[in-house]
């Protein structure tokens, strides 16, 4: 893998509202904007339930793990710039910005990463993935 390489995208065809119910339990966070479209509407945030931010980040991690098999994610830094709504299609992707090889033959890939929902930016950030011999 080389600087400039595009990472293979990871896609979810429809983000499931049922999945949001499961994530409310994983996170111990029953915020109704993830569960009840009426609450989302009352708050003026849209018409459909809103996916949890960490679930969006999980899609990005899935992309990194699939695109860089055997890699160990050493660091991640992301900004949450928009919401993903129930039923939307999401795509995670990125590019390799730099490859650093150490004396031990280890390689570290510095990546620019993103998540989009219906082509709208949702997450942007960077990651470092180590490939250890």
């Amino acid at each position: 893998m080389s600087a400039g390489d595009v990472l293979k995208p990871f896609r979810i065809a429809h983000v499931s509202p049922e999945g949001m119910k499961a994530w409310a339990k994983f996170l111990h966070d029953p915020n109704p904007i993830h569960l009840d479209p009426a609450v989302v509407k009352a708050k003026g945030l849209g018409e459909r339930v809103i996916n949890q931010g960490p679930a969006n980040l999980a899609y990005l991690i899935n992309m990194l793990q699939a695109a860089i098999p055997g890699g160990f994610i050493e660091s991640l830094e992301v900004r949450y710039v928009d919401n993903v709504f129930g039923g939307e299609a999401v795509e995670a992707g990125g590019t390799i910005r730099e490859v650093v090889t150490s004396g031990a033959g280890e390689r570290r890939l510095a990546c620019d990463i993103w998540l989009r929902a219906e082509a709208r930016p949702v997450l942007t950030g960077t990651a470092t993935v180590a490939i250890l011999n």
Binding site: I12, F26, H28, N31, P54, A58, Y59, Q65, S75, L76
Partner: protein, 154 residues
Amino acid sequence: MSQPTPPLDLGEPPQVAGVSLSGKAPYVISAEENRALCESTGVSPAADGSAHPIYFYIATQVGMGMTVAGLCAACDFNVEDGPMMASSKVTFRKPLHTGQAYRVTGRIVSLVRKPSRKLGVMDMLEYLLELTLPDGTPVLSTTNVWVLPRRKPA
């Protein structure tokens, strides 16, 4: 000649920097929950017992010494008013594993009040959480920043 706009009175946010977020009980990632989580994101769980890396967020949030509502309350903010995630940063020293007990320690780093064109006045809450093995071996360190909207523009 136009008068200069008076500075917006933002008020002072609560002084919460340094408040402990250390958990009281160990957090264990269950293999069953990890499987359900992986499947909910469109992948299969790892066969070697490693957990999905997103547990960096879940383990620290669930295992810290406060609920989300409690953390908001410490900042004099009602969770019903809608905290928003602004950013997350994590550095892993080791992969996460199901069935392993982890300890969570942490603290509020800062709560800074700022004017916002969209939100009127907002507080930026930054907090640091660290995950270790029971013997203190570091596993990961994460910093999250949330936006706490205080009032809409007039």
